[in-house]
């Protein structure tokens, strides 16, 4: 056997399971033995150099324990589903896509005419049910989704929606949203479930439902394809569509629909999420593809909790307290950083998220981000969620800064000094007259 290479000698010094013939050679070859000793010695010295990091552990431990006494216990972990949904990046995207979807799908798409697109969506309308897979792609990338997470969406007439969050081919969570009753979030990993009232539906699910509902009820038009692309071996007309414009300029699009030339059904739908105020690194594409039509949905929308799963549903009061805590956390942090509250009529999570990001090192806490997005969501979903940041500041102790309506008809109010109270509609009127 010839003398070992440097790589082989290093591997031999690192790995006692290296090939026996290497070991035998080093035993028999004086030169390789000497060379090997060089690396063995280097490893010994590197090990010695690391001993310093093992010192002070006892001192450090005492110091940490002292610091922990002043800390609250860590908050209870969120179910996996909500951890994914409440991920800061996902929230920003969600918030921006919410604005876009509300703008594009519900309002603007209706005014964009197209023949072939209309044909496709007519087919969609005729369908009783369908499923597709949603993935997230970086804006400029074409080599694969941004992460291992995909969401399988299943829609059925007249408005049922189920989403299964899949990570590396394993279902982590399911969200079942019937069109007319409470929904269910199932955390398969931790074997827990939460019942979600209609009023507590998540942002993404509501708008995903809007996408399908609107696509499925889209009226006819006469738009011509912007191009033809090959998708899964099928040459498919592509429709590039822009917000607030009837026709797209060359290369511009906010969302795209590819249609199968024979079945006339959508093969793929892309949403180009580029919030103007946000940092460029949140530019992403949400892609819907792998559509299947008229699928069997027998048990898919059953909201009976799975056997042996634990109920982790928050009581209503707990949910209200948590929401209040998140919103106060956001407003409080914004005040600390900027001296006052956002001066606006509406809370724009993308714009304010970008402002907070500009502060650089001192990143916002999760609770803060949740509060920010929650305010945006509440305002998007209900006209009863009102923000008075244009007129109310930190010194306006008794003035209403933000309020939203609760299920029982009362209002949750957060005042200028960030104290919170639940009040009747009559008392709210009095407070808002101040």
């Amino acid at each position: 056997m010839s003398c070992l290479s440097m790589d082989e000698l290093i591997r031999l010094s690192l790995d006692s399971g290296a090939p026996e013939e290497w070991q035998a050679h080093v035993r028999d070859c004086a030169r390789c033995s000497q060379r090997s000793q060089t690396f063995v010695e280097l490893l010994r010295q590197t090990a010695d150099a690391h001993r310093v990091f093992e010192e002070r552990t006892v001192d450090g431990r005492s110091r940490l324990m002292t610091a922990l006494i002043a800390e609250d216990s860590p908050p209870k972990p969120l179910p996996k589903f909500w951890r994914i949904v409440m991920n800061r990046r996902n929230w920003l995207i969600s918030a921006s896509s919410a604005a876009m979807i509300a703008g594009v799908i519900v309002w603007n798409l209706i005014s964009v005419p197209s023949v072939a697109l209309a044909d496709a969506l007519k087919k969609m309308k005729e369908s009783k049910s369908f499923s597709c897979v949603m993935s997230q792609w970086d804006g400029g990338k074409t080599d694969g989704p941004t992460n291992d997470l995909t969401i399988k969406l299943i829609w059925a007439s007249p408005g049922y929606l189920r989403s299964d969050i899949v990570v590396k081919d394993s279902i982590q969570s399911s969200f079942i949203m019937p069109h007319d009753s409470a929904g269910l979030v199932i955390d398969h990993k931790d074997k827990k479930y939460q019942v979600i009232e209609k009023s507590q539906m998540g942002e993404q699910e509501k708008h995903a439902a809007n996408i399908f509902q609107t696509l499925a009820t889209y009226p006819a038009g006469d738009e011509k394809p912007s191009g033809i692309d090959e998708i899964d071996g099928v040459k498919s007309p592509r429709f590039d569509l822009l917000l607030n414009q009837r026709k797209s300029m060359e290369g511009e699009w906010d969302f795209r629909v590819w249609v199968h030339p024979e079945t006339k059904r959508p093969l793929r739908v892309d949403f180009n999420i580029v919030p103007k105020e946000a940092k460029s690194d949140v530019r992403l594409i949400y892609r819907l593809e792998k559509f299947a039509w008229d699928i069997k949905t027998d048990d898919l929308f059953d909201t009976t909790p799975p056997k042996d799963y634990r109920n982790a549903t928050l009581a209503k009061d707990e949910a209200i307290d948590m929401s209040t805590k998140q919103i106060v956390a956001f407003l409080g942090e914004y005040k600390v950083k900027f001296g006052t509250y956002p001066k606006a009529k509406r809370i724009d999570p993308v714009k304010i998220g970008a402002e907070l990001d500009k502060l650089g090192k001192d990143k916002a806490k999760l609770t803060t981000v949740q509060g920010l997005v929650l305010m945006g969501v509440l305002q998007t979903l209900s006209k009863d969620a009102v923000y008075h940041g244009e007129k109310v500041g930190p010194d306006d102790k008794a003035k209403v800064l933000f309020r939203w309506k609760l299920e029982d008809g009362k209002y949750r109010v957060i005042f200028g000094d960030l104290q919170a109270e639940t009040v009747t509609m009559e008392k709210l009127k009095t407070l808002e007259e101040k």
Binding site: C3, M6, D7, L9, I10, R11, S13, L14, D15, R31, Q34, R35, T38, F39, E41, L42, L43, Q45, T46, A47, D48, A49, H50, V52, F53, E54, R56, T57, D59, G60, R61, R63, L64, M65, A67, L68, I69, E71, S73, P74, P75, K76, P77, L78, K80, R83, K361, L366
Partner: protein
């Protein structure tokens, strides 16, 4: 449960139930790797202790966001990297193009402790993944299984990273020259 059987996931679960001692046991296990990671950007021992403390406090406050409690080690190492980056001194590190040893002022290292300091300095200049692999390997009794768990890598992938790191260190440290002399 016997403490020897206690896993990181158990310790995380206990911490989330309010058991601070369980978190201290996580500290006992991972303080050394966190200390080594933050050392890369500031060689001052007291500053390293501060960064280590900060890393664990952040971990404690964010523990509810940890997706996989069994991966606490890799997670807290990520927090330490972030803390280190935030506190990195504004200075350009020496070139890593293979001639670090040659840039060392003449006369250093002069004794054993200097030599170890010098070696720690070289390790801290390795590319991040190689550096963390070296720290994890040498702070876990040169056990590749623990190292690969911390790196979220396969065993073969971990060996490949370690091999690159040792080769680079040997080059910088002059060990490669001695090895090649022996070959000749």
């Amino acid at each position: 449960m016997n403490s020897a059987d206690e896993t990181d996931a158990d310790r995380v679960a206990k911490t989330l139930r309010g058991d601070r001692e369980a978190f201290a046991r996580l500290y006992d296990r991972y303080a050394k790797i966190v200390r080594a990671i933050v050392f890369a950007t500031d060689h001052n021992r007291d500053a390293c202790e501060d960064r280590t403390q900060e890393s664990f406090l952040r971990a404690y406050r964010q523990l509810n966001t940890l997706n996989d409690p069994a991966k606490f080690g890799a997670w807290v190492a990520g927090i330490a990297r972030q803390v280190a980056r935030e506190h990195a001194r504004v200075r350009r590190p020496p070139s890593l193009n293979g001639s670090v040893a040659a840039q060392t002022p003449p006369g250093l290292p002069v004794d054993k402790e200097d030599e170890l300091d010098h070696l720690r300095g070289l390790v801290s200049q390795l590319p991040e993944e190689e550096r963390i692999a070296v720290h994890a390997f040498f702070l876990n009794e040169q056990d590749v299984t623990s190292t690969s768990a911390l790196l979220n890598r396969s065993r073969s992938g971990t060996y490949a990273i370690l091999q690159r790191a040792i080769k680079r260190l040997a080059q910088w440290f002059g060990a490669q020259d001695r090895s090649e002399d022996a070959k000749r």
